[in-house]
Every structure is written in C-alpha cells, then in structure tokens.
C-alpha cells in the first residue's frame, strides 16, 4: 500500500495482505477442526467431566488404532458399507425411475403421491422394526431401510429436474425428429443432472442414517451395532471412534458426488471472460 503508482493494489489492500487472506480462507475449514480439537483437549484437561464421559482426544486416538489393529472397525465398517452400497443402488434406482415416470406422466403423481407422502412423513426409526419383521435381521432389512430413506429425495429431485427441462429445447428436439431415447440422452439427462446430483448429495448422507438405524434395530453387526455395544460396555472412546467413522463415510460419499459434479458439470464453471 505504501508503494505509489500501484493504484489497483490500494483498492483491495496490498498484494501480500490479499494472499494472506486467501490462504486464511483456504485453510479455514482446517482451522475450525484444529480449534475444535483444542477445545476438546482443554475441556478434558480441565476435568469438568470424568474421562468415561468425555475422554481426551489421545484416548480416542488410541481406541481408533486398537480398533483398527484388531480388525473390529473394518469388519463392522465393511458390513455397513455393503448395506449402504446396495441400499443406495436400490433406492436411487427406484427413486430416479419413478421420478422420471411421474415427471413424464402427471397422472401418476395423483395416483402415487398419497402413498409416497405418507411413507415419507413417517419417521424412519418408526418403521425400521417393521422392515426387520418383513425382511429378517440379515442385511436385507438394512438395505431396504437405506433404500427407503434414499428414495424420497432422489424421487423429488428427479421430478423437479425433468419438469424444469426447457420447453423450447423440447420443441427443438421435436423439430429435429429426435427419438425418445435421443431426447432423454441429449436433453433430459444433461439438463436434469445438476439438480439430480444436488439431490444425490442429500441421498448419500442419508444412506448412512438408513443403514445405521437398521443396525440399531437388529443388533448383530455394522457400525450401528458397534456403537450400541461399545456404549453398553462404557467404552466411550470406541463410541466416539465409531461415530467419527460414520461421519467419515458421509463426508467421503458427499465428496465423491462433488467430484462427479466437477467432472460432469464442467460447463457450469464457464462464463463470459
């Protein structure tokens, strides 16, 4: 700022101030994490709560390494991941296809919406036990629970997205004698993709809830089971490790969808220079 003649610099502060601000902004998510850890450490060192209620970060770290080495964490993680994977495929598959059908045939909406809305407005924890009765305590009931919870946002987003396809572009496709498949592939799919992917972010994080709620109910294996059994043994560090693992799954899935957006929606980053 002190330099004369660098007029554009004086407007936004000097270059070095700006780079510092930029770096601060880039690292700010990390900063909040560090702050949280510090707060946690302080809380435990002050011994406001006993260690079995709020264990220090180091104890949780130890529990993590132990659960990793004994294979306990990976065993339950893989169970949960498998349920989530098939649940996501099932729920998304049904949600996307019924959503597309409803968007194309409004009569279906009148027919199906009472069932769908009733289904959706019931809390998942309420009918998870019912799903266990119907589908057994094996993986199927958890896959179905995940599918049910994933279904609704993908359905709604698909309906909204396909209905928002520009009528003028539809006319263009008609005037070019496009086949229904061409209209789907070249117009509806790319046009709906941004909204569908945004819905997928919600679905991906909900999938974790679906699987874990299913595991709470059946008890046997999976991260949901690990949380309850650790709590029953007052192993609070392991509870925290398991919860953080769930967070990590949700974040990874979310990031994966962000990656898809980055790749498939590259055109949205382009604008007038």
């Amino acid at each position: 700022m002190a330099e004369v003649g660098k007029k554009h610099d004086t407007e936004l502060g000097s270059r070095s101030t700006r780079t510092l601000l930029l770096q601060l902004r880039r690292s700010s998510p990390l900063l909040s994490l560090v702050a949280l850890l510090l707060l946690w450490q302080l809380l435990t060192s002050a011994e406001i709560y006993p260690a079995f209620i709020v264990p220090p970060p180091a104890a949780v770290g130890e529990a993590f390494i132990e659960a990793l080495q004994s294979g306990l964490l990976l065993k339950h993680l893989s169970v949960t991941l498998e349920e989530m994977f098939f649940g996501l495929i099932l729920g998304l598959g049904i949600g996307l296809s019924i959503g597309y059908a409803i968007a194309k045939m409004p009569i279906l909406e009148y027919t199906l919406s009472p069932v769908i809305v009733a289904f959706q407005s019931t809390p998942i924890v309420a009918y998870a036990p019912l799903l266990v009765i119907w589908f057994g305590s094996g993986p199927t009931s958890k896959i179905v629970t995940t599918a049910v919870i994933v279904f609704f946002p993908s359905l709604v987003n698909t309906i909204v997205a396909v209905r928002a396809v520009s009528p003028n572009l539809r006319d263009l496709m008609t005037s070019l004698n496009a086949t229904p498949w061409q209209t789907f592939r070249q117009l509806e799919l790319p046009s709906a993709l941004p909204v569908v992917l945004a819905g997928l972010k919600t679905s991906a994080t909900l999938a974790v809830i679906g699987a874990v709620v299913g595991e709470f109910v059946t008890q046997g294996s999976g991260l949901g089971f690990l949380v309850t059994s650790a709590r029953n043994q007052y192993d609070t560090p392991l509870v925290i490790v398991t919860v953080l693992t769930m967070t990590a799954i949700a974040l990874s899935l979310y990031s994966f969808v962000v990656l898809l957006e980055w790749r498939w929606l590259a055109w949205r980053r382009r604008s007038k220079p």
Partner: protein, 253 residues
Amino acid sequence: MKLSLRELVVDFKTPDEGRLPALGPISLEVSPGEFVCIVGPSGCGKSTLIRTLAGLQRATSGSVAGDDVPITGPLATLAIMFQDANLMPWRTVIDNIGLPLELAGVDKARRHAAVYELLPQLHLQNFALSYPAELSGGMAQRVALGRVIVQRPKALLLDEPFGALDAMTREKISLELLDLWREHRQTVVMVTHDINEAVLMADRVVVLSSRPGKLVADIAIALERPRAINMIYRETFLRLVRETRAAIDPPDA
C-alpha cells in the same frame, strides 16, 4: 421448397374448455427460394403460423403443405429458428451447431467437418469450443443460425430470430443471413416486428390482422438484390415501409 397455407385455422383450448381462435382462416403461398417476412400485431398468431409450418402445432382446420405434401409433423428438409438462441448450455459451439447432424446419425468426423466449414461465415472461428455462457447475444444467435444452416434445409422458418438483439447487432446479422441465403436460396418465412427489417430483407411482406391473424396485405418488395443497408434511405424503401405500416394500423381505425 414451396410452402402453402390453405384456409388454415388454429384454435387453442382455453382453461374453461372454450376455444381461443389464434390464427386464420388464412391462405398463403410461398414460392421456392422466396424470402417472405411476416409482420403483425403482438399475439396475432405469427408464432403459431411458424410452428404449424414446422409441424410442431396441429392445424384445427385447413392445411399446410411443403411442395404440395401435407405437413403433419417435423420435416428434415424444414428447419426452424426460435426467438431466443435456444442453445444447450452443456454443449460447446460446435456441438450445438452439430446437434441436428448428431441426431441424424452423422459420424463425428463428418459432423465436425461440416460445422468447421460453417464457422468462418458465422464469424465464430475463434469460439468453436466455447460454451453458450461465454457468448454474447449476437454470437449465440449466430450459433443458432449455424444449427439451422448445417441441416441444409430447403426451407427456413425464422420466428423473430433477432428480436432479442440490439439494433446494431441485428442489422449486421440480418445482412449476414441474406448472404447465406443468397448462397443456398432456401425458401424463407421470417417473422419480425421490425418493419424496416422486413422491407430490407424480404421479397414479399405479409401483414396479418390482430388475433385471429388473417392476411390484410401482401406487399411485393421491388428492391434489387443484393440488398445493402444504404437502401433504407431510398424513396422506394420509405414508400414500402409507409405502405406496410399503414396496413398494420389502418389510418381510418
């Protein structure tokens, strides 16, 4: 391609199950290679006329035909251009222009060859890989024009193709369109709300009445071709503009 409208009437259903007469009855013949402009008050059915010719709108009664074959759906030999550029934002300039060929199953190499050949005439050679969001309004409309030309249609249907552009850009693109037309001599039916533009471009200016649009005047434009912008100062030009304007709002009304 010869285009004909025979006693064409188009009605729309109203929400209360009544009928809204939008167009006609109207009869009109456009000879092969002729450039016809249609003007008329807003809402008189100009877009409806274009959409019926394009096979996007069904006639309530009467008929439309291309080379005496009734038009009941979109024809490959007939291309329509809309008021806004109507581009796909996820496609680059070349992929937007090449869309009709892609849908027709033309392979990528031949598609690109055809599109790249057009780019210089459209002044888009430096924007082949740009996305619509990166284009100005005029450039976007040139892409839309390219998407029409690449189909090598026998007839062009243009619905206020430059309506969204500023006057200067519009003038420029209009003359470019005339150059393209001189080369290929397609039949053109163009809707415009700009009387000067209609007189400057057309062989005939057809004036429609207010809704439901009927033919009120069919004015032959006896100006030589190629048309140039300085013709707008000529006495003949001004007389034709006055004549067209008088037909749109009759002085005794």
